[in-house]
Symmetry: C2
Subunit: 439 residues, 2 copies
Amino acid sequence: MTAPLRVGLAGLGTVGRAVVHELLDNADALAARAGRRLELTRVVSRTPRPEVNLGGAPFDTDLGTLTADDTVDVIVETIAGEDADAALAAARGLFEAAIAAGRHVVTANKALIALHGNTLLPAAEQAGVRVGFEASVAGGIPILNALTQGLAANRIEWLAGIVNGTSNYILTAMTERRGDFDTALAEAQRLGYAEADPAFDIEGVDAAYKLAILAGLAFDVPFDFGSVHTEGIAGVDVEDIEYARELGYRIKHLGIASCSDAGVRARVHPCLVPEHALIAKVDGVMNAVQVSGHAVGSTLYLGPGAGGAPTASAIVADLVDIARRERPGRRELRAVQSGGAAMDALRSAHYLKIPAVDEPGVFAHVAEALSREGISIEGAIQRARAIRAGEGAQWVPIVILTNVVAEADVRRATEAIEALDGVSGAIRRIRVADFGGAA
Amino acid sequence: MTAPLRVGLAGLGTVGRAVVHELLDNADALAARAGRRLELTRVVSRTPRPEVNLGGAPFDTDLGTLTADDTVDVIVETIAGEDADAALAAARGLFEAAIAAGRHVVTANKALIALHGNTLLPAAEQAGVRVGFEASVAGGIPILNALTQGLAANRIEWLAGIVNGTSNYILTAMTERRGDFDTALAEAQRLGYAEADPAFDIEGVDAAYKLAILAGLAFDVPFDFGSVHTEGIAGVDVEDIEYARELGYRIKHLGIASCSDAGVRARVHPCLVPEHALIAKVDGVMNAVQVSGHAVGSTLYLGPGAGGAPTASAIVADLVDIARRERPGRRELRAVQSGGAAMDALRSAHYLKIPAVDEPGVFAHVAEALSREGISIEGAIQRARAIRAGEGAQWVPIVILTNVVAEADVRRATEAIEALDGVSGAIRRIRVADFGGAA
């Protein structure tokens, strides 16, 4: 294996700590993926956090030690702070120093890229310094990767996204609970989805930074935050949400960018979205970006848009990319048993359609046969309408939804049921896939 | 700009022709993206198609000419044919010859990768030959790119996808029109979504190839098509779909792969999916893959899973990637007017909530003011319940949905309406985002 990629980290807030956690806890798997180890060699934070395990990496409160340290190949910038302007200035200074020192940079800082990317990125390229900023837009969703690589064959015509989880959470809460804006905002703040000063999110500034980045990459133009038309969600009340629903729409806070002969247009504002559109169903703090390209048509990318672990997922993916490109290693396959977990052991809920005769007691016998295998009934349907079978008997299918059980158990139970008097023919069995409401 | 990447193409079926079209028609944009030109230098097809414009590239019916031609840097393999075994054997032979000749390979052939990828990919790596197969799974959705790069920081826990458009189309048609399987299949065949011999799709074999590829990349294990438990959709009837609906589910044909201590499990079969899950709403020929990683949580990727242009989108993206990695060039920014299309010119439908007094004639005056700006009313709500205003007058908001109009026109109209007798206060205006049912 080639030499490790040595990582220096600036910032130990939620995101910085999550990056440390991933680098230390997932080190072997990352090395197998990247073809080299990702080694945390220095950490800097304004505020010491002795409770965080840094895996032995030296700690300092002075940012300058990161760029001065020759054991650092790439600097991860996750500087946060109450004072946004000061944090941005510190991030910019660090980025410039990293370029001067020839260190690669990975950042989650959307303001930095949207406002200063036009000078920082070419300067980095000139210096042979790689820059990753996947984490700056839509958290863990690899949308920048999709735009710059996966969809590279396309002239992107437009994109539209829910890119601010706070605003989407508030609109979702207002829609679901028919409550007012202030109540929804207070709820979001209580749950940690909104800051004490929520202006940056609810006035659309955060979304506008992200849209400026998306538009720049999608249309191959400079980032232009100043030209993004920006409106927040404060002008939407619950009555609007109700009227919109009556008209067949949901209200979402969207960032929309398009490119035509007239130029690039980028705008962030509340929108009525047809209720059947998938993006209308993206609720809570989830983010989603829909992209339309001339060849591919319309594609959609959805996932968690914020939070420590999802943002760290994007940052570490950028690190893996830099590790691979710098010194290509060999991706290692794992010695995991393939096909090892036999279907018999698979556990899922089951839909069973049982061809049964409409006689007293049949349902009880079916329930008994299930019970013998430890299977309980979560739902059942037996319709009144009877189906006349050949001999004149009344056949009424019994439909049962079971609890989550092992495949082998449900197979034994269905064999026993098929052998019952009052049951004729094969049972239709379809497994239930439970996505746990994940998306 | 560095030297062009010279592309040889095998196959002039739907996909091959779409690749030719993209390479010729979008050449300048691709060159700007890739940092070098993508030049079509040779085309081979068993059947000559003189009607296809090849941009001057020499044509031959003999595959051997592709590997023998030193003006070819990368071979795009899109061999199709009635005889699937023969097409697979030809594709495999071409791939091996390409490796021997040191030519990179891009393919859309899922059977080739799922069945022979375990030997072909390491052989290619050994020979320094790059291989792209993004197009082999889920058409234009850059899902392989997401798994291998965007989500590279994650231990993937499971993934579940709708990866066969034919099966999804048939299930959607049965669900929406409450029709039987044979009718839905005939409809799919008439629309070109199903082959004359549909077995490959509806028995789940196509989905199993794709799932084997997804699982291999997600879990860093060899491709193992033989271990994929495979069931098709023929066992689902419209009665099952109805019962499932009553229980709160949709029936979808899913490929599901998971990795645990017990090993990798991969299975393709019909599933009941909770109706609120996003993947339950992926209808028609659309594909979608949901991926759960330990850090990022759950993400979802959706788009067109088949067809010439979407598949070409994935193939050409692989070409761009090879072009960039081989000889990194500079991505060129375009001289497009940014922010040039002023908001005044933006055209959209609008939601207007007008604070109006509940008196005869007010609605008519509103309609007149809209009409003067060429704006028509697509929908309107005026509720019976009145809101008592300060002076005891009855205020009832008039809610109007307009047709698609220019921002400037609707602004003039709202100013005129705000000045009307019987209207008091500011009009709430929210734009409608119409995704055209795209997704």
